[in-house]
Assembly symmetry: C3
Homo-oligomer: 153 residues x 3
Amino acid sequence: MPQDTTPPLTPELYLEVQQFYAGHMHAVDSGDFETWAVGFTEDGVFVSNGFPEPLAGRAAIDAVTRKGAAARAERGATHRHVLTNLDLRPLTEHTVSARSYVLVVESVAGAGAALYASTLCEDRLVRQDGTWRVAERRVTRDDLPAVDSGDRR
Amino acid sequence: MPQDTTPPLTPELYLEVQQFYAGHMHAVDSGDFETWAVGFTEDGVFVSNGFPEPLAGRAAIDAVTRKGAAARAERGATHRHVLTNLDLRPLTEHTVSARSYVLVVESVAGAGAALYASTLCEDRLVRQDGTWRVAERRVTRDDLPAVDSGDRR
Amino acid sequence: MPQDTTPPLTPELYLEVQQFYAGHMHAVDSGDFETWAVGFTEDGVFVSNGFPEPLAGRAAIDAVTRKGAAARAERGATHRHVLTNLDLRPLTEHTVSARSYVLVVESVAGAGAALYASTLCEDRLVRQDGTWRVAERRVTRDDLPAVDSGDRR
């Protein structure tokens, strides 16, 4: 007997995801790259119109993240990933579609703060080992051309 | 026997309103004007010190919204309505007073992102047809003189 | 028999703290300094790398806050404390560790809005008289050198 198995969006689920994001963004902003990296599944994919090509797999995401952070450190800059307008849609018991706005704010020692980019972040999250992880992330920077889907149909 | 019928603020109610706003703001920012417009009641009022006069009714709000979006599109700009600091007060079973900060962030293709305006958003929301709608919105841009109430007492 | 008494993070608790912050930040931004001040415990401490020295006690916090607001008013500027990425960890039944990002947005009459500072806000909150109060606040502005802990070990 077929039935709709889409679970309801509960405050408990929303809170779990909200806490996941707060920890995830704080990790990357504070240089805790291990915590950031395990926030993606082993085979997680990160697509962005700010990247020359999609990042496939946790190791690739980790490498690019560390490279970016090293470049910022060299010029005395830090980033904050300010996440707002979080919109959740449970897909299954263990999968959630999450859409949010992420402002990237850059501060430079002695030179104040500025908006680095305004982005739309679309994630597919999965529950693994009692925590949430990003299986697929699509980030669209509002100031750059949208990603070409590659679909030529 | 008179009694206080103000319902408590529950996580379920907060979540409903939070999801409403996430969808409402995403709709206007992504050009889904139908969804944005039905986020107001048929006779909804939108007052702002950024408008020459109050907008009365969904149709008027819709028209002004589309006009603004067309002007932005012409100069290659997009807006994000970044909603934070949401403070809710239930008034009745079907009415909520909602106060939030809404940053309007503007991105221009090839020219980065900037703060367009910092605003205070004060809404009276009503539950209609199983969803929330704005019956009255008062937006105060922090960089413009406050709206004159028109009250000359 | 020893046991773990750390309470769970529930949606109810998260909501309480979220509403506390929304009211707390709105109070200081709108000039309701009494409400802002009682958001700290009588002996609350406010440390920031933006201050020459820690503020000890509600009275000291209140005085410095009013002085800052008066200086801003003189140059036609207002601030909004935009709080996001809230991460809570209950410590005891009546104590919570709260970490958030607080963007300070400045608007000047007739001159638009700008990011004034990007900060990390680390609070220890205590429940007192049925409400939450800040017992200890540590604010780190991202564009200034970190606070020296004073620890010379």
